[in-house]
């Protein structure tokens, strides 16, 4: 079928499309970490690289390298071809000006030139990942220059929001057509659990503060005792107890979402169209549109078209699903209208995806400190002896002989390279696809104990 079948299942064709269009800037000498990183990125489908190859010869011999001719050896790994353009460091200024790199990766570079640092500090730059390994140790540092937005953060679990506590007219009317008093025990066993929960909420209507326990108690004491005494063994009753929390208003997302909205409004005032990354720009516009939508919809989010699978007769499930679908379609149309008033160019797929994931949208904030601080400010890395030693090795500085674990740094460890190369590539995938949450922002690997330390700087 498809060469990328196994990974499309992780990030879909939208993600794969972004990867295949990406242009990666690599800075560093040809060492095994650089080879591993490029190999992994080519395998996932990235085909365009510009490599500023420094002549900073590695201390070890060419025997360490898996690929004897990297540029040639990469070609068969992508059927659409691979272009790795090698450039001299001298031209770095000019080339970075004229190219819109998706990401820059700096690997084991000893002398990071002033021009580059100046480039990297300007606000219009793509994310920069820096990394180095030595012996059993390695670090990966990510510098973002603008907030990174993720729509598909892919949480492990999500509470469905079914609006049982604040039904719209069509849902209320549908629920009202189902009347317990007209149903026998068999028909009641066929009702989806959301209907039972809705009825429980109606029954509790007078109560001011409804909690999880009250819903369960009402299921037991009212539904089973008064309405359907034979219902205790029904699967829908089990499900209603298990998913009782679905009936409660779930507003935990609101605080986070409000922050994103505040940010987008501020952004609208401050720096419109300043976004480097088009994807980020589009999402900020979508969040802005969302705030307008919420204002005219009493704060209710767009309804999701899909409802979870549940025990039910197919007929009622189908009808219920239709009620949600109708509302979802109406909401999406309205929201799309708002979005397109702000920006006509935003594609419908993105609007739909935004709408479905609206509760899980994440914004990763960049750190304020410039890259140069990370490289040179010893106070910053002091609490992390492994990191400061790694940076010394990277910069070819004298490393104290007394250092306890010096020998751990001396062992040539290809496995560590393989590990860190995999990790860098994984972060690149997350940043380019805008799916899954990237590491924020520094990670130190200790291969001796397979321990990871991470911090923000």
């Amino acid at each position: 079928m498809n060469r990328y079948d196994r990974q499309l299942r992780l990030w879909g064709s939208a993600g794969q499309d972004l990867l295949s269009k990406a242009h990666i800037c690599i800075i560093g000498p040809e060492n095994s970490l650089l080879q591993e990183t490029i190999k992994n990125l080519v395998l996932v489908g990235i085909s365009k690289f510009t490599w500023f190859k420094s002549n900073d010869a590695p201390a070890y011999s060419q025997n360490d390298l898996f690929y004897k001719d990297l540029i040639q050896d990469m070609v068969p790994l992508n059927p659409r071809g691979v272009s790795i353009i090698q450039e001299s460091m001298f031209n770095i200024h000019e080339i970075t000006q004229n190219n819109n790199f998706s990401i820059s990766i700096v690997i084991s570079e000893t002398n990071i030139p002033e021009e580059l640092l100046r480039e990297l500090s300007s606000s219009e730059l793509s994310p920069v990942i820096m990394s180095h390994t030595e012996g059993l140790y390695g670090y990966v540092y990510t510098k973002l220059f603008e907030p990174h937005w993720v729509i598909e953060s892919r949480p492990d679990y999500e509470v469905p929001s079914l609006r049982l506590d604040s039904p719209w007219d069509e849902l209320r009317e549908y629920m009202d057509t189902i009347r317990f008093e007209t149903l026998d025990e068999y028909s009641m066993a066929e009702l989806p659990y959301v209907v039972l929960l809705y009825k429980v909420l109606q029954h509790l209507h007078s109560s001011t503060q409804i909690d999880h326990k009250m819903i369960k108690d009402t299921l037991t004491n009212w539904y089973v005792s008064d309405i359907n005494p034979k219902g205790t063994n029904d699967l829908n009753y089990d499900e209603a107890l298990r998913y009782a929390h679905v009936a409660l208003p779930n507003e935990s997302y609101k605080v986070g979402l409000q922050k994103l909205i505040d940010f987008s409004q501020q952004d609208d005032n401050d720096r419109s169209n300043q976004w480097r990354d088009n994807y980020n720009r589009q999402i900020v516009t979508l969040v802005h549109a969302l705030s307008i939508y919420l204002d005219s919809n009493c704060g209710d989010l767009m309804v999701n078209a899909s409802i979870p699978d549940m025990e039910s007769s197919s007929k009622i499930f189908g009808e219920l699903q239709q009620v949600y679908r109708n509302k979802a379609t109406r909401d999406l149309t309205e929201f799309s209208g708002v979005v397109h008033q702000l920006d006509e160019s935003i594609p419908n797929d993105l609007i739909t995806s935004f709408s479905c994931n609206v509760k899980n949208i994440k914004r990763i904030e960049p750190t304020a400190r410039p890259i140069n601080d990370f490289l040179t400010d010893s106070k910053l890395t002091e609490p992390y002896p492994i990191l400061s030693t790694l940076l010394k090795f990277q910069k070819h500085q004298q490393v104290e002989r007394t250092s306890d674990n010096k020998s751990f740094f001396l062992y040539e460890s290809y496995p560590t390279t393989s590990f860190i190369g995999g990790l860098i590539s994984q972060e690149v995938i997350k940043l380019i696809t805008h799916q899954y949450i990237p590491i924020s922002n520094t990670l130190i690997y200790d291969g001796m104990h397979n321990n990871i330390t991470s911090f923000k700087c």
Binding site: R242, K315, T416, G422, L423, I437, H449
Partner: protein
């Protein structure tokens, strides 16, 4: 400075010699296997032996970087070795074959290796290799990945917990009646289409035996059982149509399975008291159009397209049957078989008011596809190859004082990490004292002259064993663990006069010998598990059977019932945590490891569990046959 002197300086001359003399067994040349092979070569291990039974497929190429487009359909092991031939520092030996094949890979063959790397994709082989490593006390590095996540576990026999010390989730099975009569989810229809319909029409060699009285049908409704049996017989007739190659009969097949069979079901009133009644196809929907059209595999096709596609693909498969020896196996990467299963499942779903699915989605479920990417494989192979140096004590500066100092690693939610949680690295636990594999038995190898299998009787074996280990012949039971067959015990001796060959106790068999004698304190001899080999026996020895010199310890004996209780406690997590991580491994694997980690709220745990339950439902084992016989 030459590389060799450089490396000598770092790991020392003695360790370098050891490294160069080390023989590694790498099982699996897939995602993790390719990465491991590269890492082990660059680490300059002396010998690497690579085993894989599989051939290369297009969907492997996004991560199995040693393979090229032109290598598709070539064996993985030999192709991988060819790809890295430029590195002549290590001796490389490829094998095409199933690691569980005892004639190609007898126990003593495993015995040649210093360390085993598992880069497998299925539970059965993982378990088997684990057992071999236990027989021979060879360290094993187990690993697996699923999407962004993976794990690596060193196993040091007798010192640390083995692969079977924690219970592995087994694939979800469904009651026969759910699959055959009352499906309610897409998965039920997919299982029906793949394991029942497809298997019966294209891959069944022998008539299905319906007479088994002990069969658990998942229902006691006599009418329904009768119907299921009858339907199976009728399927035989459908198979005959397929074999006839007469494509004009395809409408008859559709009519039978999607109209008549459903009408028959509808007549069993009991089934529909609490369920929605299915709606059979309308005979006007049946088409004679057999043209094969290209449709978008990730789209949802309308029912009429499903029926048309079902007809055209059936005709295509009928033609293939002729060329392929009247036998086609379902293979998720064989598009014809996948489309047959997808359309059959969808038509059935439509009939039972179940949502339809795209071919792309059905492929994932029917093929039990686990997402796989290059990066995770690189990460896990890196972890596995690095720890091998510590397991083999090749790092003087990082000596381990005891094996339980080693770490296992999970990349815990690399896809959604919080700070400091990219890896979790608990140290290894001691063997689980209730583990049926590593703790409940003593193990050894029994050697029998190859020409003696047709002369030696089971009785002779019993006598020899009893003499050697002081067993009480009256209380001795012998079990063939491969087929779980009882060979002999105190009230079953009818096989005692048979020869080993007759009772199929052959080289590669594993037998479990238990002396059930108990003393007053309930103590007795620990059961003995023997792997049977046939190698040349020193001519000076008089016996035809060579038994290992082991002292069998006295242990507290347990009754079968206690045994059962104990094994059910195995799920107790070895690690102190409470987040449930579930991992499927590499390609087609379905086994799931449950581990618990700290500092997740209990609510999150519950949430994950319910998610887990959903996931379980969608897992079918590649070669798991829903019990239909």
């Amino acid at each position: 400075m030459s590389r060799d002197s450089n490396i000598t300086k770092i790991i020392g001359e003695e360790n370098l010699k050891k490294l160069r003399a080390t023989k590694c067994l790498l099982i699996g040349a897939g995602g993790i296997g390719s990465e491991l092979l590269k890492d082990l070569i660059l680490m300059e291990f002396g010998e690497i032996h690579l085993v894989d039974l599989d051939t290369i497929d297009l969907s492997n190429l996004n991560r199995q970087f040693l393979f090229r487009q032109r290598d598709i359909k070539q064996p993985k092991s030999t192709t991988a070795v060819k790809a890295v031939q430029g590195f002549n520092n290590s001796k490389l030996v490829p094998y095409e074959g199933n690691i569980m094949d005892t004639s190609q890979f007898p126990l003593h063959w495993f015995g040649e290796f210093d360390i085993i790397f598992n880069a497998l994709d299925n539970l059965a082989a993982r378990r088997y290799v684990n057992k071999m490593s236990q027989f021979l006390s060879i360290p094993l590095l187990e690993s697996g990945t699923s999407g962004f996540d993976g794990y690596m576990q060193p196993i040091i026999p007798n010192e640390t917990e083995c692969f079977d010390c924690t219970k592995k989730e087994t694939p979800k099975t469904f009651p026969v009646c759910t699959i055959r009569s009352t499906p309610s989810q897409p998965i039920h229809c997919i299982v029906w289409a793949k394991n029942f319909l497809f298997a019966q029409l294209f891959a069944a060699d022998v008539a299905v035996n319906n007479d088994s009285e002990n069969k658990d049908w998942g229902t006691t409704d006599e009418d329904e059982i009768k119907r299921i049996k009858q339907e199976t017989n009728e399927l035989q007739e459908l198979q005959d149509i397929i074999l006839s190659g007469d494509t004009t009969l395809i409408p008859n097949i559709i009519e039978k399975i999607f109209i008549h069979d459903i009408e028959k079901l509808l007549r069993i009133e009991n089934l529909w008291k609490t369920r929605t009644r299915p709606t059979p196809l309308n005979s006007s929907q049946i088409t004679t159009d057999l043209i094969d059209r290209n449709l978008d595999l990730s789209a949802l096709w309308p029912i009429q397209d499903q029926i048309q596609k079902f007809s055209s693909i059936t005709s295509k498969l009928m033609k293939r049957m002729k060329e392929e020896d009247n036998h086609i196996e379902f293979d998720k990467d064989d598009e014809d078989t996948l489309e047959f299963v997808s359309t059959a499942a969808n038509i059935r779903s439509q009939i039972f008011n179940i949502p339809l699915k795209s071919v792309f989605d059905i492929k994932q479920i029917a093929g039990n596809i686990i997402p796989a990417i290059a990066t995770t494989n690189a990460i896990i192979a890196g972890l596995s190859s690095l720890v091998s140096l510590r397991v083999l004590s090749l790092l003087d500066f990082a000596k381990i004082t005891k094996p339980t100092d080693l770490n296992m690693v999970f990349t815990a939610k690399a896809s959604n990490i919080s700070q400091n949680r990219y890896l979790s690295n608990p140290t290894l636990a001691k063997p689980n004292c209730n583990c049926p594999v590593c703790s409940k038995v003593v193990r050894g190898v029994m050697n029998i002259q190859s020409d003696m299998f047709k002369h030696l009787k089971l009785k002779d074996l019993i006598i020899t064993l009893s003499e050697k280990y002081n067993f009480d012949t009256e209380e001795l039971s012998i079990l063939d663990t491969t087929g779980q067959r009882l060979l002999s015990d105190f009230d079953f001796d009818s096989l005692d006069e048979k020869t080993l060959e007759e009772i199929k106790v052959l080289p590669g068999s594993v037998i479990l010998v238990t002396d059930e004698t108990e003393d007053n304190n309930g103590m007795g001899l620990k059961p003995l598990e023997l792997y049977i080999e046939s190698r040349k026996i020193d001519s000076r020895k008089t016996s035809d059977i060579e038994l290992p010199d082991i002292k069998i310890p006295f242990v507290k004996m347990t009754t079968a019932e206690e045994e059962h209780n104990e094994s059910s406690t195995q799920e107790t997590p070895v690690l102190q945590t409470n987040e449930v991580i579930t991992l499927d491994m590499d390609d087609n694997d379905k086994d799931i490891k449950k581990r618990k980690l700290s500092d997740e709220s209990s609510e999150a745990t519950q949430n994950k569990k319910s998610k887990q339950e959903e996931d379980d439902i969608e897992i079918i084992e590649e070669d798991d046959i829903i019990e239909l016989d």
